[in-house]
């Protein structure tokens, strides 16, 4: 009779342990995800700025090149 009780207790303990660990890991992953997403968003913002700068630079280069071409002609 006691063995049944001990086994049931063990099963309850195992389930509790696994559930607790699952929630803990899930929270950990979520926290990491938030951190990474924030970092990613910041980098994406910077990428956007860089792309705009790149476009502007390309335009300027084109203008200077055409001016140079005219001068060479």
């Amino acid at each position: 009779m006691y063995f049944i009780l001990w086994t049931l207790l063990l099963l309850v303990f195992c389930s509790w342990f696994l559930g607790y660990k699952y929630i803990q890991m899930h929270a950990e992953i979520r926290a990491r995800e938030h951190k990474i997403i924030a970092k990613e968003a910041r980098i994406k913002e910077m990428i956007k700025g860089l792309e705009e700068e790149k476009e502007k630079l390309e335009q300027e280069i084109q203008e200077v090149s055409s001016e140079l071409g005219q001068m060479k002609e």
Binding site: F3, T7, I36, E58, S65
Partner: protein, 159 residues
């Protein structure tokens, strides 16, 4: 309770422990996989950013190079135009100072132009034409008619 029951309970006990351990191991694996995926995503974004930074740096360098080239060319062009202008002024001064009176008369009358005199002068300088006068060279080159030149000379002598 006999021995068989005891064995069965022990087996259940063992199975529960092993099952929990396996489940925990799988959970750990799942956590690692998730974090790896997230970090991979971040690394890709970071890589893209680095590439863009490099590209922008290259473009800035290129722009500066082109700008300096353009400025150099502009400077050279300005210098050339200044030099040309000075030469022209000098030539004109020369032409006006050293021109024979007959040619000055023709110039004033508008029969010949400065550029014709300049061409005649160049012709004299380049060729082996020692002793040839500028007005003769102009006649030779067809810039002025001998008749006009003769008239101009007569007019100058009279004056």
């Amino acid at each position: 309770m006999d021995a068989w029951d005891l064995l069965i309970y022990l087996m259940i006990f063992l199975a529960a422990v092993v099952g929990t351990a396996l489940a925990y191991a799988r959970m750990l694996d799942w956590k690692k996989r998730n974090i790896k995926l997230l970090e991979q995503r971040l690394a890709e974004t970071q890589k893209h950013y680095n590439e863009l930074t490099k590209e922008v740096g290259d473009l800035k360098l290129k722009k500066n190079r082109l700008r300096s080239e353009l400025q150099d060319r502009k400077k050279v062009q300005d210098m050339n135009s200044e030099t040309r202008q000075k030469e022209q002024e000098h030539d004109q001064e020369w032409a006006e100072d050293q021109l024979p009176e007959s040619l000055s008369y023709l110039l004033n009358k508008g029969i010949v132009e400065h550029k014709h005199i300049e061409k005649a002068r160049q012709y004299l300088e380049k060729g082996d034409n020692a002793g040839l006068a500028v007005e003769d060279a102009m006649v030779l080159l067809g810039f002025v008619q001998p008749e006009d030149l003769r008239k101009a000379k007569k007019k100058v002598q009279k004056d």
